[in-house]
């Protein structure tokens, strides 16, 4: 059954859920002048997603993961030159 809301075993899907929340909700909420501070955290998130990006879930989630990577990379370029 669904385990959301409780402690759950991490996999690519759950790690991506958390990383996307940081990228889409928390990062966008920050004032423009503070966004660069969170870039390092986003990079850590990206590495974590990369570590979990293997096996069957990586196959079925490839579009979502690529979309996520593209968004983070574009932000890194924007805020770190």
């Amino acid at each position: 059954m669904v385990e959301i809301g409780k402690e759950e075993k991490e996999n690519l899907a759950t790690v991506l859920n958390k990383a996307e929340e940081r990228l889409l909700i928390e990062f966008e909420k920050l004032p423009e002048e503070e966004k660069f501070v969170m870039i390092e955290i986003l990079q850590e998130d990206m590495k974590r997603v990369e570590r979990y990006n293997t096996g069957k879930l990586a196959e079925v989630g490839k579009d979502e993961v690529n979309n996520y990577f593209n968004k983070v990379i574009s932000l890194i370029e924007q805020y770190q030159g």
């Binding site: 669904v2 759950t14 859920n17 996307e20 909700i25 879930l57």
Partner: protein, 400 residues
């Protein structure tokens, strides 16, 4: 607002209709590149309720309306107005779902109109219903009816999203489902209510059309013919229909909608709770949040932001029936009510967000006694009622 003078408009009855077919994650594995584990972790959904040809949006919504009327102990002729929140997923663009439902249930004395507000449509219908009761009470429908406190309104929501789903688009086909549900609104007969029995406190509706492109579809669909569910085969469409759906069916910018949904659900729930002078932190008199069943991950994030446990953010429907748009919140309300999780005096907050982009919430105290009947609707009886309503629908249809 002078609270002492607020009319105690309440929910007098609830009903829902879940169609008979189920599209499982296993079915979807055979239709698009996905897996049960991926869908479960990313959306929380295990199964979607899907209509057969006979369970079209008119039949589903009419049956939900009849059940809400039964629950309220009211005859269809007593209804003054019908509002249906819908995404126009039926066979006809004109007349509206509400007009056909009016005929199917025999609500001869009602006015009827559809409300297009995406997944928030049920709450927009509810707002219209409250407006109708107040219009009559304050004399906007003539002096003869001024002061009337026995106005009854059906606020319904119904959709057959399977009719507009692109079953090759795994971002959306894993979410969408079919269902209908609704409530009867009115003033309880014993309207000398105590403060803690006052019914609906506040209702808020909002929209931001500038971002409306994030969820859309083009018109002109009918329900698919379901060949098999419960197996890997799922829903099979002809090549021609698949191509048409690729071009015109439901589409959604998932990231934009996710961002909007989490923020909107938190914002409108807080706004509504605050304006009702309630407190989310109140543990003794906890508010039961009954949200649009869109995606469990969104509900989980919103619950954390609101600082409430997931037990108070009801989510049975999303796991078991999928996202049935405007109907989903009333389906959840009906489920909670019939499972005796709502009793007189309980605080509740209905919250929704969706296409438009829209968002809405309504807060109040439950004024009905704890439900004592059967928890589930009888499936054999439902089949008979669907057949009967579908026959009436066919007889009503214009002859070419």
């Amino acid at each position: 607002m002078d609270e002492e003078k607020q009319l105690p408009i309440s929910i007098l009855g609830v009903g829902s209709c879940i169609p008979s077919m189920r599209l499982t994650n296993k079915d979807l594995e055979g239709m698009v590149d996905t897996s049960d584990e991926w869908i479960t972790k990313r959306t929380g959904i295990k199964e979607r309720s899907i209509s057969t040809k006979k369970e079209n949006v008119y039949v589903l919504t009419a049956l939900a309306a009849k059940r809400a009327l039964d629950d309220a102990g009211i005859k269809a002729e007593e209804i003054d107005a019908i509002y249906v929140g819908t995404n126009y997923t039926g066979k006809y663009a004109v007349p509206g779902v509400s007009h056909i439902v009016q005929h199917l249930i025999g609500a001869k004395n009602a006015s009827a109109s559809d409300v297009g507000a995406g997944c928030s449509g049920g709450l927009y219908a509810m707002e219209n219903g409250i407006g109708k009761i107040l219009n009559i009470y304050y004399g906007f429908e003539g002096k003869k009816n001024k002061g009337r406190t026995d106005t009854k309104v059906l606020a319904l929501a119904g959709d057959t999203l399977s009719a507009i789903t692109n079953y090759k688009d795994r971002d959306t086909c894993v979410l969408l489902a079919d269902a209908a549900a609704g409530i009867v609104l009115g003033i309880p007969k014993n309207n000398e209510t105590q403060e803690n029995e006052k019914g609906i406190y506040t209702i808020h509706t909002r929209s931001q059309g500038e971002d409306g492109h994030a969820i859309s579809y083009k018109t002109g669909f009918e329900l698919p013919i379901i060949t098999q569910t419960g197996t890997e085969k799922g829903i099979k469409l002809s090549h021609k229909e698949s191509l048409q759906r690729k071009e015109r069916a439901f589409r959604m910018d998932g990231n934009e909608v996710f961002k909007f949904a989490v923020r909107a659900l938190e914002k409108i729930t807080r706004e509504c709770v605050d304006s009702s002078k309630l407190r989310l932190e109140d543990v003794k008199d906890a508010i039961k949040i009954i949200p649009h069943q869109a995606n469990l991950v969104i509900l989980d994030k919103a619950a954390k932001r609101l600082g409430i446990p997931m037990e108070h953010m009801y989510h049975h429907g999303i796991v078991n029936y999928g996202n049935s748009s405007a109907a989903s919140l009333f389906v959840e309300l009906d489920y909670i009510y019939r499972n005796r999780e709502l009793e007189k005096g309980d605080l509740f907050c209905l919250s929704a967000f969706g296409a438009g982009l829209t968002y809405a919430a309504a807060c109040g105290r439950w004024t009905k006694e704890k439900y004592k009947g059967e928890k589930e609707y009888n499936k054999t009886q439902q089949k008979r009622e669907v057949n009967s309503l579908f026959k009436k629908f066919q007889e009503w249809e214009p002859k070419s």
